[in-house]
């Protein structure tokens, strides 16, 4: 099956900074891919290259089997820029009608599109009077025009309230079910983890890892935190029995590697009546993310 998007060994240099280095990435039809990375990691640069807005120095890019920015690529790709802007003098409806006409779609679909992103009532007001989240929704509405086969969304949920975010991801699920691929960037780890198929982490222009959350969890191999609560009056004996732990007020904190988890738990269970409870905390999403996304010197 042909990939929707193929990047191989993509490198992009701005005058003194290397924004992307040897990035290789494939996106299959119907796949939702989240691009994560620190500020300045190269996410927006990568997206602009895919759209053909900026050139690249070396490597290969294929979008829907064509060159980025070529006719077939433009016809099948929708984009939501990082800070989307529209002419303030036009109304939401007029702006969407304009974009519909540019894609050769009937302009009467505009009100339906605005309704899909929850802007049915504001469509007749000028965009100059819109809030940031409302402008973002106009941006989403234009990205839905004409059943695109690839949606490139740069921080699509920034400025959206929690309910709108949920609606947005529901919208994405529908698009992916119809076979559209989605490449989105985000700083909101929890929502991205739950609603996409694959995470791609960029750090300083390099693709450091990719995979599902459980893949990344395994790769990172971060220690698991254990909190052992002693029975009343038994804290001294517990501290002696588990010398690698650190007594902190009412509980003992210790960590262990993924592969020692069961052995450690059975040892704690073997301590018998001096232990009243055990809490196991796996590494959080943020821990895994910062493990991969470390910048130099951090």
């Amino acid at each position: 099956m042909m990939q929707t998007l193929t990047l191989s060994r993509l490198t992009k240099r701005y005058r003194d900074t290397e924004a992307l280095r040897d990035v290789s990435l494939d996106v299959a039809p119907g796949e939702r891919v989240a691009l994560l990375g620190h500020n300045g990691a190269g996410k927006s640069t990568l997206m602009k290259i895919i759209l053909g807005l900026i050139s690249f120095d070396s490597g290969e890019v294929q979008v829907l089997g064509a060159a980025p920015g070529s006719g077939p690529a433009r016809a099948g790709v929708a984009y939501l820029p990082e800070s989307v802007a529209f002419h303030p003098a036009l109304t939401g409806l007029e702006q969407i009608r304009h974009y519909l006409r540019l894609r050769g779609e009937p302009a009467r679909l505009a009100s339906e599109l605005l309704a899909r992103v929850g802007l049915a009532d504001a469509g007749r007001r000028r965009i100059g009077t819109y809030s940031k989240g409302m402008r973002q929704r106009v941006g989403l509405a234009q990205a839905l025009i004409g059943h695109p086969r690839l949606l490139v969304l740069d921080e699509p949920t920034s400025g959206l309230d929690p309910v709108s975010r949920r609606d947005f991801y529901a919208l994405l699920d529908g698009l992916a079910a119809e076979g559209a691929s989605v490449l989105l960037s985000s700083h909101a780890l929890t929502e991205v983890e739950a609603r996409t198929d694959r995470l791609v982490i960029l750090s300083q222009g390099r693709l450091v890892t990719q995979g599902s959350l459980s893949d990344l969890r395994r790769q990172a191999d971060l220690p698991i935190m254990l909190h052992v609560t002693p029975r009343t009056g038994a804290s001294g004996r517990l501290a002696e029995a588990l010398p690698q732990g650190r007594m902190n007020g009412t509980a003992l904190h210790m960590s262990c590697g993924q592969d020692e988890k069961l052995a450690t738990l059975s040892r704690i269970a073997g301590l018998g009546e001096i232990v009243s409870d055990v809490d196991v905390t796996p590494p959080s999403l943020e821990d895994i993310y910062s493990h991969f996304s470390r910048r130099d010197g951090q």
Partner: protein, 273 residues
């Protein structure tokens, strides 16, 4: 073509909202009426009808006003999109940069057409109302009308080129004012000074006519004056007008919008959104 029309439609709406349509119409009407009222005195002396004299005055007005209005509307054309941040999204649509500029040109030419029609129309009505023979000047008025649109189109396209060159509205506005001063005011002064210095030599007889039609504003003036003896007399530069075939001036007026639009597209292509 549908993409050009879609762009033109939105741009016209924007011009309407930004009051450019009303500003342009008001400017043209006010200046045309003032001029036709002021120019009503010497009618009998020249033996021309009232409308032909009005057309002569309007020609001198249009040389200044039409390029100014055109530049005012177009200097924001590319730089405004860059500044607002609307360009990256627009350029991911199946719309070429040439189509985008052509769409803007269609809309702005339409605005200009309204303004010129309203201005000349009101001046013509006031001439016809006071002089029953004035209808004889209708062909001259018609010629002035469509050549004004051509002149405006040339300066609209020059405005887009400057806009793409500057990439910022403030810079583009400065360049537009500079261009207007250079091409409309200083160019003629320079030529005049050169003629005086030359004293009827090679420059005056050989080069000067070409330099004159090389400037779209001078070509516009020449074409309109050459076509009518009476108006040429009224404007006082009949001598220069007679030396150059009107056809050359027309070719210059047709070539300028095309060349300037081509230049604007080329400069626009160099912008990375």
């Amino acid at each position: 073509m549908s993409r050009i029309l879609a762009t033109a439609r939105s741009e016209f709406l924007i011009a309407l909202r930004n009051r450019w349509v009303s500003i342009a119409v008001a400017m043209m009407v006010v200046f045309s009426l003032v001029l036709s009222a002021a120019g009503s005195a010497p009618t009998g002396a020249l033996g021309a009808d009232r409308l032909s004299v009005t057309v002569a005055s309007l020609t001198s007005l249009a040389v200044y006003l039409v390029p100014l209005v055109a530049l005012l509307m177009s200097f924001d054309g590319v730089a405004g999109e860059v500044e607002r941040g609307t360009l990256p999204l627009l350029l991911t649509y199946p719309l070429s940069r040439a189509e985008l500029l052509t769409g803007k040109l269609f809309a702005h030419v339409a605005v200009l057409t309204f303004a010129v029609a309203a201005g000349y129309g009101s001046a013509a009505l006031s001439a016809i109302a006071t002089d029953s023979a004035a209808l004889a000047g209708t062909p001259a008025l018609w010629r002035l009308f469509w050549t004004s649109i051509l002149l405006g189109a040339a300066f609209l396209c020059l405005g887009y080129a400057l806009s793409a060159l500057a990439q910022r509205p403030s810079g583009a506005a400065g360049l537009a004012i500079g261009l207007w001063l250079a091409m409309i005011v200083l160019y003629d002064l320079g030529l005049l000074a050169a003629i005086v210095a030359d004293g009827g030599g090679w420059f005056t007889t050989e080069l000067f006519p070409w330099l004159l039609i090389g400037n779209p504003a001078d070509a516009f003036r020449l074409y309109n004056l050459a076509a009518s003896e009476a108006t040429a007399a009224a404007a006082g530069i009949g001598g220069a007008a007679n030396a150059i075939p009107p056809m050359h001036a027309l070719v210059s007026m047709l070539a300028w919008p095309v060349l300037a639009l081509g230049a604007a597209v080329l400069i626009f292509r160099r912008i990375t959104p």
